[in-house]
C-alpha cells in the first residue's frame, strides 16, 4: 500500500468529495431563492428605506463600554435590544447597516427553512416565503424596532437547534426545552414565544408520549417565569445609562404591531407545514393529489418540476418586490434624511431634500431645519420663501404642529433643536436647559455632543470633560470627543476653536429672563413660559451686530406678516455685510408703504424708514401693479401674479401666509 497522496486516484476522489460536500453545504446555506430574496431585501433597505434614516428614528446613545453593556443583562430581552442598538450604530454609517440587516435576514430565513424541513421531510414548500415577505414589509417602516428581527433570528436559530438535537435528549427533553426557553426568553424577550411555539409544534406533530408534550407546555411557562423571578431578585445598585422597564410582562407590552406580525408568521407557517406533513403521512397513495410528493419520493422527479420552481421563484420575487414597494414611504425617507442631514450640518443637502418634501409632510421640524440651513449658507433673507414657511421659523417646544412624523420622539427632538438653535444664538444657558431636557427624555450622542459644546463655550472645562468622557465611547462622535479630551488635558481653560469662539462672542451679557419669560404660578410648582421671539429680540438688543438674531427675528415677523416690525428693524440691516437690503425685506417694506402708509409706487427712488429700496424691487412692484390693473384688492390674484413676477414675499403675504 502506497503512502497517502501517492495514490492519485484516491486523493483526487477525496478532493472531489470534499468539494462536493462544500458545494452541498453552500447550497444548503445559500439556496437560490434565499439569495434572490436577500438581494431584493438589501436593495430595499439601502435604497428605499435608507438605514441612516432608521438610525435617526431609533438610535439612542449607545456606548461601547462594559458599564453600558452590563445595563442590558438585567431584564429579559434587553440583550436583544443591545444587539439591535449595535446594529443601529452600523446603520448610522449607511451601507454597513444594510449588510448587517441582510445578514440577520439570512439567518432568519435559513433557520426557518431548515427548521421547516425538519418538521416536514418532504420539504418546506413555499411556507418559508411568508415570513420573508413579512420581513421585507416590516423593514420598510423606519419605526420598526430592529430588535424584533434580532429576536426572530435568535428564536428561529434556537428552534432549529432544538429540533436538530432534542431527539437525542431522551427523557431529559423537557428539562432541555425548559432551559432553552429560559435562555431564549432572557436574551430575546418576547421572541421567546416564537421559539416556544415552533418547538412545541415540532413536538406535538412528532412522535412522543402525551405527557412529554404536556411537559413541554409546562416547561415553557416555567422557563419564562423562572427568568423573571431570577432577574427580579437581582436588584442592581447602579445603572450606567439604560434602565430596564420594571413592569411585569414588560417584554410583551413593548411589542409593537409590526414585531407581532413578524413573530406570528413563524409559528403559523410551522403549523401549516406540520399539519400538511401529518396529513400526507396519514394519506394513502390514491388520496395524493397530482403534484403532491409521495412520502419517500423526491420532488425533482415530478414532471414539470423545474418549470414550476422557476414560476414560483418569479412569483416570490414579485411578491417580495411588491411587499417592499407597498411598505416603502419615500416621502418619510426624504423627511428623515433631511433631519439627519441637519444633524450632520450638511446644509446644502438639507436644502436639496427640502425641495422634494411634499406639502403634507412639511412639518414645523422641516421648517426649522430648512431655516437653519438657509441661515448657515447665508441665504435666509433671500430664499426663505422659496421653501414653505408657517407658524414660526423655529420649532416650538410645546406644539409639534401639523404634519410631524408621529413615530418620532417629538418632544426630545424639538428640545434638542431648540438647544442647538440657542447655542448658535449665543444664549448658552437656554441652550443648556433645552439640551438637558432633551437628553433626559431621550439620550442621544448628538445631544451629548451639544452639551459638551455648550460647556466648552461656557468655559466649563470639567463639565465638558464629563460629557466628553461619556461620548468618547460612541461610534460616530467618539473620535471628536477623544480629540477634545486630548486638547483639554492640561490646558488652562478651553482652547480656541472657531465654533466655540463664535458662541462665546455672542454670549449674552445681561440677564433678561424677566423680559423673555412670563412667570406662571402653577399650584404645585410654579414655572414660566418662554417666548423664543423675545429671546431672539433680546439677543439682538444686547448685540445689534448679531446676524442670526436679526435674520431670525425678521423671519418671524415676515411669517407673521408683521411688516411694521420688519420696517422698524430695517435700518439695522446696515450693521451686516449685505451688499444691499435683502429683497425679502424690501418687499415687506413696499407692502408696508402701500398698505399702511398708503404710498403710491412712483417713478424714482423710494425710501422706507430711511432705507432706500432698490430700483429692481420697485420695478417688479410696478409690474405687479400694471398686471393687476383694477384688481389690486384681489389677494388671490395678487399672490398669483407676484409669484410669476418674482416677488416671493408678496406671494406669501397675499396667499394667506401658509405657503402653497
Amino acid at each position: 500500500m502506497l503512502p497517502f497522496g501517492w495514490e492519485g486516484g484516491v486523493a483526487e476522489g477525496l478532493a472531489r468529495r470534499v468539494r462536493a460536500a462544500r458545494i452541498e453545504a453552500m447550497a444548503r446555506l445559500f439556496p437560490a431563492r434565499v439569495i434572490l430574496f436577500l438581494v431584493l431585501f438589501a436593495w430595499h433597505v439601502e435604497v428605499a428605506v435608507d438605514p441612516r434614516c432608521v438610525a435617526f428614528v431609533q438610535s439612542e446613545l449607545f456606548l461601547w463600554n462594559l458599564g453600558y453593556f452590563r445595563d442590558f443583562l438585567l431584564a429579559p430581552g434587553d440583550l436583544c435590544d443591545w444587539l439591535a442598538g449595535a446594529v443601529l450604530q452600523a446603520c448610522r454609517f449607511g451601507w454597513p447597516g444594510t449588510v448587517i440587516l441582510t445578514a440577520i435576514a439570512w439567518l432568519i430565513l435559513i433557520s426557518t427553512l431548515e427548521y421547516l424541513k425538519r418538521i416536514s421531510p418532504s420539504g418546506a414548500g413555499a411556507a418559508w416565503m411568508a415570513p420573508a415577505l413579512v420581513l421585507i414589509a416590516v423593514h420598510g417602516r423606519h419605526e420598526y424596532a430592529i430588535s424584533a428581527s434580532v429576536g426572530a433570528a435568535m428564536a428561529m436559530a434556537a428552534a432549529l437547534a432544538y429540533v436538530e438535537f432534542s431527539p437525542r435528549w431522551g427523557r431529559w427533553r423537557i428539562v432541555g426545552f425548559t432551559a432553552m426557553c429560559a435562555l431564549v426568553y432572557s436574551t430575546a424577550g418576547a421572541a421567546f414565544y416564537v421559539f416556544a411555539l415552533c418547538a412545541m409544534i415540532h413536538d406535538f406533530y412528532g412522535p412522543g408520549r402525551w405527557w412529554m408534550k404536556a411537559g413541554c407546555v409546562l416547561g415553557a411557562i416555567t422557563g419564562r417565569f423562572l427568568v423573571d423571578a431570577l432577574l427580579g431578585s437581582l436588584r442592581p445598585s447602579w445603572f450606567f445609562l439604560h434602565v430596564p422597564v420594571a413592569a411585569g410582562f414588560a417584554a410583551e407590552q413593548s411589542l409593537g404591531r409590526f414585531a407581532a406580525a413578524l413573530y406570528a408568521s413563524f409559528p403559523l407557517c410551522a403549523l401549516l407545514v406540520a399539519d400538511r406533513a401529518a396529513q400526507r403521512r396519514r394519506a394513502t397513495p390514491a388520496e395524493l393529489r397530482p403534484g403532491d410528493v409521495h412520502p419517500g419520493s423526491s420532488r425533482s422527479n415530478v414532471p414539470g418540476a423545474r418549470l414550476r420552481w422557476m414560476a414560483a421563484t418569479v412569483l416570490f420575487a414579485a411578491g417580495a418586490a411588491l411587499a417592499g414597494w407597498t411598505a416603502a414611504r419615500p416621502q418619510v425617507r426624504t423627511v428623515l434624511a433631511l433631519h439627519a442631514s441637519a444633524d450632520g450640518e450638511q446644509w446644502d443637502e438639507v436644502l436639496r431634500l427640502a425641495g422634494r418634501v411634499g406639502p403634507e409632510w412639511y412639518s414645523q421640524y422641516v421648517v426649522h431645519d430648512v431655516n437653519m440651513a438657509l441661515y448657515h449658507v447665508g441665504r435666509m433673507p433671500y430664499d426663505m420663501f422659496a421653501y414653505r414657511q408657517f407658524a414660526s421659523p423655529v420649532v416650538v417646544a410645546t406644539h409639534p404642529g401639523p404634519n410631524a412624523l408621529p413615530f418620532l420622539d417629538l418632544d426630545a427632538l424639538a428640545l434638542r433643536k431648540l438647544g442647538d438653535f440657542h447655542f448658535h444664538l449665543g444664549r448658552l444657558n437656554d441652550a443648556e436647559y433645552y439640551a438637558h431636557e432633551s437628553f433626559v427624555r431621550r439620550p442621544t450622542a448628538e445631544c451629548l455632543r451639544l452639551l459638551a459644546r455648550i460647556a466648552l463655550a461656557k468655559d466649563e472645562v470639567e463639565q465638558a470633560r464629563a460629557f466628553l468622557s461619556v461620548l468618547r465611547d460612541d461610534g460616530v462622535h467618539g473620535a471628536w470627543a477623544e480629540d477634545w479630551l486630548g486638547r483639554l488635558r492640561g490646558a488652562a481653560g478651553v482652547p480656541l476653536d472657531a465654533e466655540i469662539a463664535s458662541a462665546r462672542l455672542l454670549r449674552l451679557a445681561e440677564e433678561d429672563v424677566h423680559l423673555t419669560a412670563k412667570f406662571v404660578a402653577n399650584p404645585i410648582i410654579a414655572g414660566r413660559t418662554v417666548s423664543t421671539r423675545k429671546q431672539i429680540a433680546s439677543a439682538l438688543r444686547q448685540n445689534p451686530r448679531h446676524r442670526m438674531a436679526f435674520e431670525f427675528l425678521m423671519a418671524g415677523y415676515l411669517i407673521d406678516a408683521n411688516v411694521a416690525e420688519v420696517v422698524g428693524l430695517l435700518p439695522m440691516a446696515a450693521n451686516f455685510s449685505y451688499p444691499a437690503i435683502p429683497p425679502l425685506y424690501e418687499e415687506a417694506a413696499m407692502i408696508h408703504a402701500r398698505v399702511y402708509e398708503r404710498r403710491e409706487t412712483t417713478d424714482g427712488p423710494m425710501q422706507v424708514n430711511g432705507c432706500t429700496i432698490r430700483e429692481e424691487t420697485i420695478r417688479k412692484v410696478r409690474a405687479l401693479d400694471a398686471a393687476l390693473g383694477s384688481r389690486t384688492a384681489d389677494a388671490k390674484e395678487t399672490a398669483r401674479l407676484a409669484k410669476e413676477i418674482g416677488l416671493p414675499y408678496f406671494h406669501f403675504y397675499y396667499h394667506g401666509r401658509w405657503g402653497d
Binding site: 444664549r427 436647559y433 463639565q463 464629563a466
Partner: protein, 524 residues
C-alpha cells in the same frame, strides 16, 4: 496499587512545583516592578492625582481611597506607610491605584490618630523612575458612621426620569439600592430623614411623576411597617418638604413650600428657585395632629429648612419676609433680592410651648442668605449654607458652608471644606466629628458626596469625595447625589410594605392647593 501511589506522588510533586514556581514568578515580578525605586529621581513636586486626596483627614474606617495618578508613565507605584504596621504598596500599569481592602483596613486601624505618608513613583517610558513629594493622610481617631444614605438622580432641570435612594457602606464599596422609582411608575422620592443618625425609624417623601396616581406626601417607616402620614391641612394644603425629626422621635418639623423654578439666561448656573409661600409645621406622631404655631408659620414671612437642636429644646430654620403678592415683587426680576435670616425658636417638649423666634444670623449683617441649618449632635455647633441670595443653595454657585458656635453665636465660613462651587445638603455624623455634604465643585453640574473632618476646636479640614472602587468612576458619571445622611447602621427597608405605602392614597388626599387665580395680574 504501588503504581497508583507513585502516580499520586508524582502528580502531587508536579502540582507543588507548579504552585511554587508561580509564587516565585509573582514575587519576582513584584520585586522587578519595584526595581530602581531607590534610584528614583525626585520630581520636586506633588503628584497630580484624581480624586484629590492630598492632605486630607480620613476616618479610620473609611473604604480605600483609591485614586488615579495623572502623570504620564509606563508603570506606577504607591507606598503608604505609617508609624505602625508594614507599609502598603500597590503597583499599576495604567495609573489606577486600588488598595486591597483587608490590608487597607489593617493599616488604618494600626495608625489611628496618626499620619500616613503616601509616596508616588512613576516610571517613565525610558525606564527611569520619578519620585514625587510625599503627601500626608491623617487618620482621625474618630470613626465616621458606617452608612451613608443619599439620593441619586439625573442632573435635573425641569424633567426627570429616573432616581433612587441608595445606601452606601462607607467601610467598603458596597452600595445597595433602597428604592428606585421605576418600581413605582417613575414617581419622585426625596427628603429621607432619620432620627439622630439612627437607621430607623425614618421618613421619606414621594411625589407623583408622569403617573399622577402616586400620592404626594411623607411615608413613615417604623417597626418594619410603612404608612403614609397626613401633613396637609386646609390652612397648609401643600405637601411636606424637608423634614427634621425631634430627638424624641415623636415629633417632626417639616416645611411646606410653594416654590417656582425658572432658568436664568446668564451665569454659570441656569437654574433658579424662588419661594412663593413657605411655612413650617409640626407633625405629632403620637396624635397624628399637625400644628403650625405662628412663630414658625408667620403669614408675613417665609420659613423653611427646619432643624431641631440635639436636645430638642430649639428649632432652627431660615426665614425671610414674604414678598410674593405682598409687594410688587416680580419673581423673574427681583429674585436676587431674597435673602434668608438664620432663626432659632425655643420649644418646651413637655408642655408643648413655643418661645418667640429670634434672629441668630441676619442676612443684613452677613449680606448672604443663610440656609439649611443643621445642629451638631453634641449640641455645640450649627452648620449652615451661605449663598449670595435665594432659598435653594444647591443651585447657587456662591453657596458655602458656615459654622456657628452656639455657645457664643460666633460664626465663620468653612474655608477648607468649601469650594468656589455650590455646597449644600450637609449632615453630621453621630459623634459630631464628620460632615458629609453635596458639592458641585467637580464640574458645576452634578453634585458628589464630600466628606470633611471637624476637629474638637471646630476647625474644618479639606473635604474629599466619597471613594469608589474604580477611581475613574466619577469621570463619566452624569448623575447627581443629594441629601446625603449618615446613619449608624444599615437601613432595614421593608420593601414590599414601602411599595404598598407608596401606591396607597394619601390620607389627606382630599386637600389640594388652590389654583392660583392671579395669572392675569402679572406684569407683562
Amino acid at each position: 496499587m504501588g503504581r497508583l501511589t507513585v502516580g499520586k506522588l508524582q502528580g502531587g510533586l508536579i502540582a507543588v512545583l507548579l504552585i511554587g514556581g508561580l509564587l516565585a514568578a509573582a514575587a519576582w515580578w513584584d520585586r522587578r516592578g519595584g526595581e530602581g525605586l531607590s534610584d528614583a529621581t525626585p520630581a520636586g513636586r506633588l503628584p497630580r492625582i484624581r480624586p484629590d486626596y492630598i492632605g486630607i483627614v480620613a476616618p479610620p474606617n473609611i473604604a480605600p481611597l483609591n485614586f488615579l495618578i495623572e502623570e504620564p508613565g509606563a508603570a506606577y507605584r504607591v507606598r503608604v506607610a505609617g508609624d505602625e504596621g508594614p507599609p502598603l504598596e500597590v503597583h499599576s500599569s495604567d495609573g489606577r491605584i486600588q488598595f486591597p481592602l483587608a490590608a487597607w483596613k489593617s493599616l488604618l486601624a494600626q495608625n489611628r490618630g496618626r499620619t500616613l505618608s503616601v509616596e508616588v513613583f512613576v516610571k517613565d517610558h525610558d525606564r527611569a523612575w520619578r519620585h514625587f513629594d510625599a503627601f500626608p493622610w491623617k487618620v482621625a481617631e474618630e470613626q465616621i458612621d458606617p452608612y451613608l444614605v443619599y439620593r441619586v438622580l439625573d442632573a435635573v432641570f425641569d424633567y426627570y426620569k429616573h432616581l433612587g435612594v441608595y445606601q452606601r457602606h462607607l467601610e467598603s464599596f458596597e452600595e445597595r439600592c433602597l428604592l428606585f422609582n421605576s418600581d413605582f411608575r417613575r414617581g419622585c422620592v426625596n427628603c429621607h430623614s432619620f432620627v439622630g443618625n439612627c437607621p430607623a425609624p425614618f421618613l421619606i417623601h414621594t411625589r407623583p411623576g408622569p403617573d399622577e396616581s402616586i400620592a404626594a406626601g411623607p411615608i413613615w417607616v417604623h417597626g418594619g411597617k410603612a404608612v403614609r402620614v397626613a401633613t396637609r391641612t386646609e390652612a397648609m394644603p401643600r405637601a411636606a418638604f424637608v423634614t427634621s425629626w425631634h430627638p424624641s422621635g415623636e415629633l417632626a418639623a417639616f416645611c411646606v413650600n410653594w416654590f417656582g423654578q425658572f432658568m436664568r439666561a446668564t451665569g454659570a448656573e441656569p437654574r433658579e428657585v424662588v419661594d412663593l409661600e413657605s411655612d413650617l409645621a409640626i407633625l405629632d406622631f403620637r396624635t397624628g395632629q399637625v400644628a403650625a404655631p405662628r412663630g414658625i408659620a408667620d403669614p408675613d414671612r417665609l420659613e423653611t429648612f427646619p432643624s431641631w437642636s440635639a436636645d430638642g429644646k430649639h428649632l432652627f430654620f431660615s426665614s425671610t419676609p414674604r414678598r410674593w403678592m405682598k409687594t410688587d415683587f416680580d419673581p423673574l426680576k427681583d429674585f436676587r433680592e431674597v435673602k434668608y435670616d438664620l432663626m432659632g425658636i425655643a420649644y418646651d417638649f413637655a408642655d408643648n410651648r413655643w418661645g418667640e423666634p429670634e434672629v441668630l444670623l441676619s442676612a443684613a449683617a452677613t449680606g448672604k442668605s443663610v440656609l439649611q441649618p443643621r445642629a451638631s449632635p453634641d449640641g455645640r455647633y450649627l452648620l449652615f449654607c451661605m449663598a449670595d441670595y435665594g432659598p435653594f443653595p444647591a443651585f447657587q454657585e456662591s453657596s458655602d458652608l458656615g459654622l456657628m458656635d452656639l455657645a457664643d453665636r460666633s460664626w465663620r465660613r468653612l474655608d477648607k471644606a468649601s469650594s468656589r462651587r455650590s455646597e449644600s445638603w450637609h449632615c453630621w455624623s453621630s459623634n459630631s466629628r464628620w460632615i458629609v455634604f453635596s458639592s458641585r465643585r467637580d464640574n458645576g453640574l452634578v453634585a458628589r458626596p464630600y466628606i470633611a473632618y471637624l476637629d474638637r476646636s471646630g476647625q474644618d479640614h479639606k473635604a474629599f469625595v466619597l471613594p469608589q472602587r474604580d477611581p475613574r468612576f466619577y469621570d463619566a458619571c452624569l448623575h447627581t447625589y443629594n441629601i446625603p445622611e449618615l446613619v449608624t447602621g444599615p437601613v432595614a427597608l421593608p420593601e414590599k410594605e414601602l411599595l404598598d405605602a407608596i401606591f396607597s392614597p394619601a390620607p389627606d388626599a382630599g386637600i389640594a392647593p388652590p389654583a392660583w387665580s392671579g395669572l392675569n395680574d402679572l406684569p407683562e
